[in-house]
Amino acid sequence: MSEMFVSGQSGIGRLIQALAERGHRVIGPIVRNEALVYDEIGGVEDLPRGWTDLQEPGRYRLEQRGDEKLFGYVVGPHSWKQYLNPPETVLWSGTISPEGFMTDPMPEPPKYAFFGVRPCELAAMQVLDTVYGSDNGTPAMAGRSAQREQTFIVAVNCVEPGGNCFCVSMDTGPTANSGYDISITEIVHHGNMRYLIESGTDAGAEVLAELAPLENASDDEVQTRDGLLAEAAASMGKTLDTEDLADLLKGNALNPRWESIADRCLACANCTLVCPTCFCNTVDDNLSLDGTHATRTRKWDSCFTLGFSYMHGRPMRESVGARYRQWITHKLATWIDQFGEMGCVGCGRCITWCPVGIDITAEAEAIRRGDLRDTQVRIGGFA
């Protein structure tokens, strides 16, 4: 374990400053349109001080906490794929000539620092690293690989899990174990906001050295931190029993419950858009009016749309039930065949942002129990 430092909120501000000075575009949580989203931050004053998020199936609401916490919430509708795997990316552009294609130079990928990355989100980035990994030396997506390598990551451990969190079930949190340059845990100690800071990489240690002098955390502070994180692990909003889940889902492909879920599912694709690991995309080609310049753009796509499986004039997954089955079976079962791990990190976004509150943990459990019909009509709400 690396050295544990401690600071107040000013230290957090200095850290953001240091990253900006190193040429990073610092992206972190901000409040916008009554939600927590990720965008560029200039300093600690941009962070959602004093805000928390209430999450239930199909419900999301920000509230004032009545304290000074900088990280007193969990995850919002954005995830870091917004930056590493943006909704639209130009893959290639060029001009056609009698000699072939003239490729336009590609812009340098921005050098980001991600500030406030939750443990489940670190896991999601690692899941996508595997998806976009290269077997043959030529990167699948050059832009993402380059960007990923130069991104500096400041993780924040979760001491207050949200209502739809189940990272413990997925073994991805609430404490970050790897994949970060610096990790932070926010605690209240003797009435003061204290930030326990440690480095996970040499680059992280270097930045922390620049912030000097940082105090070393006291044993008492470290104990408080450890206690809060243990408490967090024991108070997840949701659980997902993953034992034999993959075989269970694959073995239930013909379960009538899928069509029953389809009665509620709007096929709106919200779950796939907010999911930090959903990677499905399509390629859009555009041609200039004179027919000489072309652009290939990769765009997020969703297995919930009818057009996703369109081939030779008809969709292969016509029913919404088949699409929901595809999504959940992919996340929790066939992802393992493809990439050696599940595609779900337990962040709960798909549950929160589903307009009708379909809950991946509840659906997996229903299949496990053998419930053939979906009888839930209540969307959920704050009683």
């Binding site: 056609i96 003239m102 976009y132």
Partner: protein, 282 residues
């Protein structure tokens, strides 16, 4: 700016320009493009496919239909179905297309050595099988019986007809064609392709079957081979198709159960996909 005639591959999504050497109409909606790789040769295995890019219009997966021994150019046999294939169908010699690949698993030509080859195609499904047929012809002594069975809608829809006729004239290959519907001008067989299977001699335990056509044709054929001829499913190979966008397992479109058709297939032993055919909308 760089000229991509000498390919600059930034990543696996970068198309490499191939010049069209010739374009010929095969059937009323089907044509074959002959393409020149920029650096002279293009190595692929029978059954592999490429992503072909119509400049600015889009990209589609197409199986290579030429012999793997022919390295100077490749042939792609394409049916006009949508915007991209229609654009490709308008290309003339000297024009450029973008190519990525080759991608996907090949027909099991090496594993099938010393065995009977039963090659069954339906419709345009003969095109992805043609490299396997060429390979078998060029390495005829490596295989026992070589049987080509082909079914298509009408006598006007027979792909590579001249070649099939040449095959049927050979004594070292059995080649039969059947159509769904014909008038009295047609002297050949009428009926589904599975009805041809009973008319040819092969040793089921020592046969490798390679089947390509629409899914219903492949499942009916595989079932016929298993139930009617006691063939083991692991000796029956089929090739799958989905609307793949990347060819490299990152767009998610071609998932078929746990499989990415582009990287785990497109050629699969029936053992890997047979059960999935029973799940509607898998």
């Amino acid at each position: 700016m760089e000229t991509l005639t000498e390919p600059v591959v930034i990543d696996q999504m970068t198309p490499t320009p191939f010049r069209v050497r010739s374009a010929r109409e095969e059937l009323s909606h089907t044509f074959t493009l002959e393409l020149e790789p920029p650096n002279g040769d293009f190595v692929f295995k029978p059954g592999q496919f490429v992503m072909i890019y119509a400049f600015g219009i889009g990209e589609v997966p197409i199986s290579i239909s030429s012999s793997p021994a022919r390295e100077a150019t490749i042939l792609l046999t394409i049916r006009r179905t949508g915007a991209v294939t229609h654009a490709l169908g308008r290309l003339k010699p000297g024009d450029f297309v973008g190519i990525r690949g080759p991608y996907g698993t090949p027909w099991p030509m090496e594993e099938a050595e010393g065995r009977d080859l039963l090659i069954i195609g339906g419709g345009i499904g003969l095109a992805p099988l043609r490299p396997a047929i060429y390979h078998a012809m060029e390495n005829r002594d490596k295989y026992e019986r070589v049987i080509v069975l082909y079914g298509t809608r009408t006598p006007d829809d027979i792909l590579f007809q001249a070649q099939l006729e040449r095959f049927s004239a050979r004594t070292d290959v059995t080649s039969l064609v059947t159509v769904d519907a014909a008038d009295r001008g047609w002297r050949g067989s009428v009926g589904v392709v599975t009805r041809l299977i009973g008319r040819v001699g092969f040793e089921p335990a020592n046969t490798t079957a390679m089947v390509c056509g629409p899914e219903i044709m492949m499942t009916v054929t595989a079932e016929r081979l298993m139930e009617g001829h006691s063939m083991a499913p692991e000796n029956i190979y089929v090739t799958m198709e989905r609307n793949m966008k990347c060819g490299i397992g990152v767009c998610g479109h071609c998932q078929f159960g746990p499989k990415f058709i582009c990287t785990d297939g497109a050629v699969f032993p029936y053992t890997e996909v047979g059960e999935l055919f029973d799940i509607k909308g898998v």
